[in-house]
Symmetry: C2
Subunit: 419 residues, 2 copies
């Protein structure tokens, strides 16, 4: 089954808007077992729209089109679809009734121009839009079944789930197969070294495909299995997952789609433990990530960002002597910072960061990309030093924050560092 | 000039990655006066890649391709381009030297597989990549000049600016006209209300085009002027800019492409002033944004994130009485927080946030989206309350942090709030 996606609109064509709809649809189709062959984008131009619909109609079995269903003169999808088939637009009473009902329910006055949305190409089947005013439609052009959806993401997503995926599933009939995906979120090794850990998995588990995806600063290992018999796909993926889990070991932090901060939060919650954070070079990013988790106020007590030595001394009780001897970027300083913030907060655990995010401030001994991380546990304080070579301030901040969370995750999960 | 963009890679085709590169390139070309006619996307499939290159080669004058230049077996762009022209790959010594130099400078061992990147289609002109290992190249296929760039966004952006835009400009030759763009970065009104402030500008200044772009949480107002005679375009844009600047007034925070945090940083630096921050609901995001600015350690002294009332009292000296009477989310509490952190840091200015980012924690009196912001200046402390209806935690955090920075910006710049 050859599938394509077409995004329409001048905002897409000119780059004023990043087309996230197409990625959403491609992923949904992929997970439903339909591989998307091509993505397309054109602006609000009747001739070009009509042309590309005919082109896709000669190439694909199924296509999803987004955008151009609204009430303005720029909304040309229905007109182009009709032109591609050499037919006219006809008023669809069911569509008009749905539009009127939408306004009635919301007590909003209905602008006469929205009636335009009830005119669909002759031969089209309306697709109801329960969350907006523009109905979609299904229409055959050439050899291809086209699904026309609105460009507003939440309307598109709802209609994709309600109409498109079930109808495509029925279209596939005998060719239907179960397709499964397993995602392992990893941190701590480069993409290629992470891949090496699960090298040979495709040969060892025939029918399982491996995919690697860098989602900075994490690396995702994906396993795909498909089979006409559901139990076959499940069995194959399970066996491969057991092996992959074992091989990934300490770098694997989630199989459930959780972010690192969500994993750390869950582990803290399970231990009924609390956390305090003392940041320097990460400048608040570590705290911001940790508090992105809904409900994090249950375990996240407080944090400080202290750039200046003076602030490190006064707020956290870092010793002037330590700063004089070792400097602000040092394992010892990181340990005194984290011990200080844990005492200040009365928390179970503490994390600290002090380093050089760049672009300035590096020395030959402590170049940009150097970070010292402190961990406080009920057993004591520990200091670590790492060096990254990204060069860019924002990437360094992200990597430093992620590394700090990973150190706490390993501590909480009782993971032993691999060499 | 018919221009197209092609994004390649299975991560694009399957929707694992949202294709933001194409939007970036479309916008850059658009701003350079080249309208993009079509966007295309295909996966790592040699036959399909070769086919679409030939197809675009028969249709376009210029095309930019991203992705597929790396060292792995999935990286097929050079091979497909060679196949489309019926030629082979040849080793480009200059490319190999650049790759070797890249590794030498970073003291990193060079994996032999990266040599693959030095093989370009016969007849291609190498495009140097100063920030990565994969060189790009320019190649004519059919009637179209193709520019092949890496898929890594910051490498692509650098090479687009260094090579592609200047070369396209030369290609346009006689048809070249001066195209100017002026961007006003605004904050504080919705996109449509911001647009209303400059409504009628196209009629008032013939030849000037208006564009609005939401770049959450800011809104950009763009003015475009083009003319074969450079002075004409300059004069027209200048006149319109004077008018727009006046009309935008207090919501305009930068005309120089600066972020809000960079503007605040510059104003603090100009005043030789320093800043301390007390966050609650923004959880570190406000500090992280402020410290994203290189050199921010010169004026950013310290910040605290205090979720718990206890921490607000102990670190910032917020009164138990105030918390009991008004609650954690209140202008009074925000004022005590900001007064406390300014005293703690000995800073010139202070900012504080306390609110409900959601999804839980809202009440009928203080629903999710409520934020109180405190400002401390040498003249005293001030408290403000706002309510936003985004619903999503991450959007609320962003909006709250941006609003706090804007309040400080207005104070530092001496901007009077418009009603």
């Amino acid at each position: 089954m050859h599938a394509e996606i077409l995004a329409t609109g001048d905002e897409i064509r000119t780059g004023a808007l990043v087309d996230s709809n197409s990625a959403w649809i491609a992923q949904a189709l992929e997970e439903a077992g339909v591989a998307v062959a091509r993505l397309n984008g054109v602006g609000d131009d009747l001739e070009r729209l009509t042309g590309i619909l005919k082109e896709i109609g000669g190439r694909a079995d199924v296509a999803v089109v987004t955008g151009g269903l609204g009430p303005t003169v720029d909304d040309l999808s229905a007109l182009a679809a009709a032109a591609a088939n050499g037919v006219g637009l006809v008023m669809e009473p069911e569509a008009l009734a749905a539009i009127e009902e939408f306004y009635r329910q919301r007590n909003r006055p209905m602008n006469p121009s929205v009636r335009k949305q009830a005119f669909l190409p002759a031969g089209a089947d309306m697709l109801a839009n329960p969350v907006g005013t523009a109905p979609g439609f299904r229409l055959r052009i050439g050899r291809c079944a086209f699904f026309f959806l609105p460009g507003v993401p939440f309307e598109m997503k709802r209609m994709l789930a309600d109409h498109v995926l079930p109808q495509i599933d029925r279209m596939r009939g005998e060719r239907r197969e179960t397709r499964l995906i397993k995602t392992f979120a990893c941190f701590g090794l480069t993409e290629s070294l992470t891949g090496e850990r699960v090298g040979g998995i495709e040969e060892r588990f025939p029918g399982v495909k491996l995919g690697l995806r860098a989602k900075f600063p994490e690396v995702q290992v994906k396993l795909y299995a498909s089979d006409p018999v559901a139990a076959e796909a499940v069995g194959r993926l399970d066996a491969a997952s057991v092996w992959a889990r074992e091989r990934l070991g300490d770098v694997l932090f989630s199989e459930a789609g959780e972010s690192m901060e969500a994993v750390v939060g869950r582990l803290l919650r399970e231990k009924k433990a609390s956390l305090a954070v003392a940041e320097s070079c990460t400048g608040g990013l570590l705290s911001s990530l940790l508090t992105d988790v809904p409900g994090s106020s249950d375990y996240f007590l407080l944090s400080t960002v202290t750039y200046a030595n003076d602030a490190k001394m006064r707020l956290l009780g870092v010793n002037a002597e330590t700063l004089g001897r070792s400097g602000a970027v040092h394992e010892e300083t990181a340990q005194e910072m984290v011990g200080g913030v844990r005492r200040l907060a009365g928390s179970t655990y503490g994390l600290s960061t002090t380093g050089i995010a760049g672009p300035a401030g590096g020395t030959s001994e402590k170049p940009v990309g150097t970070v010292c991380i402190g961990l406080a546990t009920p057993a004591g304080t520990f200091g670590y030093r790492f060096h990254y070579t990204y060069g860019r301030r924002s990437m360094n901040k992200q990597m430093f924050a992620m590394k700090a969370m990973d150190i706490l995750r390993r501590e909480l999960a009782g993971v032993v560092h691999s060499p």
